[in-house]
């Protein structure tokens, strides 16, 4: 469910933020993954044109993300063992992270804290998806990992905005999102939305990024996933993992908890489950930063 973003916001965004284009191979792979009839072999062939991408994907495949005991050495092998659908998440992640290798601005954004927060939201999203028996449990880790990607885009490519936002957040001691709204007039979820749409990422991923601070107004078909990431974001900040740009817990409509059938005891269990994955998922952080 696309959010209608007013033209003047898009213009304002585009005047300041020079959104990087994805490397050719990546955008080719992404568009192929969106085609219903594409074969795994065809995708593997395109991926293999970019050796950096190949090695990044293989590192993700061999990380705790899939928790697979044996070393997987080729994309073909990964496709056989994991299947196409499960591998898609790794390919999307590798593609998105490629863009954030270089170019961070020195304007005081805590990138380590950001990734720690993102991994926290990832592991708790995954625990929630597992608890709710959703079919694509692993993908929820990725949804959580990338939900705040708009902040990273602003830090890397929107310096003109963030060099005003970050000091204002500190000075007024408000949430980062409130400071974004005050300075820019829109927040990181809109930024993520614009960019992910541009990159033709899958609709579920776009919706999670777009609506994670506005779940009550979302009535698209990925409601469980959008709700899960919003709750995971809330819980990650509740228990104080990482740094999402401020020390506050985001407001969340309580209907989201009842919609997902979560009582306090279940939530306690989910946090415990998620946190138990935290250490092993940190090697993911190395892949991202590495």
């Amino acid at each position: 469910m696309a959010k209608t973003i007013p033209v003047h916001i898009k213009q304002k965004f585009e005047q300041v933020v020079n959104v990087p284009t994805l490397p050719k191979v990546l955008s080719k792979v992404i568009s192929m993954l969106g085609e219903p009839r594409v074969s795994a072999r065809e995708v593997a062939k395109v991926i293999s044109q970019d050796q950096a991408l190949v090695s990044r994907i293989l590192r993700i495949v061999n990380s705790a993300f899939y928790g697979f005991p044996r070393q997987i050495k080729t994309i073909d092998h990964a496709l056989v063992i994991l299947g196409f659908n499960r591998l898609k998440a790794a390919i999307f992640t590798a593609s998105v992270l490629e863009v954030f290798k270089n170019g961070q601005n020195d304007i005081g954004f805590d990138v380590n804290g950001f990734w720690e927060h993102s991994i926290g939201v990832g592991v708790i999203s995954k625990a929630l998806a597992k608890h709710l028996r959703l079919p694509n449990v692993e993908e929820h880790f990725i949804f959580g990992l990338l939900h705040d990607v708009g902040k990273l885009i602003l830090d890397y490519y929107g310096k003109e905005f963030y060099e005003k936002v970050l000091p204002l957040q500190k000075e007024k001691d408000v949430s980062l999102r409130e400071a974004e709204l005050e300075v820019i007039g829109f927040d990181h979820s809109i930024v993520g939305s614009i960019v992910f749409e541009k990159w033709n990422l899958p609709y579920d991923m776009i919706d999670v990024v777009t609506w994670h601070h506005d779940v009550v107004n979302y009535n698209g078909k990925f409601l469980p996933s959008v709700g899960i990431v919003a709750v995971a974001d809330f819980l990650t900040r509740l228990v104080g993992i990482g740094y999402g740009g401020d020390m506050f817990i985001p407001p969340l409509h309580k209907n989201v908890f009842s919609m997902l059938n979560l009582d306090l005891m279940t939530v306690d269990y989910i946090i415990y489950e998620g946190l138990s994955q935290m250490d092993s998922m940190r090697d993911f952080l190395d892949i991202i930063r590495g």
Partner: protein, 110 residues
């Protein structure tokens, strides 16, 4: 209703609401058993994360005890973190307990 609690909070006389099962799937104590001191020692020796006992207030009693263990510094941070909360006071209180419990346990580990 039942409560899921960590074995460290088990007390003699609590009644099991489900079987106690080890990581490898062996049932060591059956549902319905009233716990003796010996049972509790047995569970604690088995690396079990959770036990379900009868009575839903037990979960909240334990959670309050766990939250109470957090130092003042964490309590202050949690109070502040709820600036944007739109939950009812009762719900906010419950979430604060979770926040204190986990922030304290994370601080203890690092």
């Amino acid at each position: 209703m039942a409560s899921r609690i960590s074995p460290r909070w088990l007390e003699e006389g609590m009644r099991l609401a489900s079987d106690v099962v080890t990581d490898d799937g062996a049932v060591i104590l059956p549902k319905g058993k009233e716990l003796t001191q010996e049972d509790i020692e047995n569970i604690k020796g088995k690396n079990i994360s959770w036990v379900m006992v009868e009575g839903d207030n037990i979960f909240f009693d334990v959670l309050k005890k766990e939250a109470e263990m957090a130092p003042d510094e964490i309590k202050r941070a949690v109070e502040k973190a709820f600036k944007y909360s739109n939950f009812s006071p009762k719900e906010t209180e419950q979430f604060k307990l979770l926040a204190l419990k986990y922030r304290n346990s994370i601080a203890g580990k690092s």
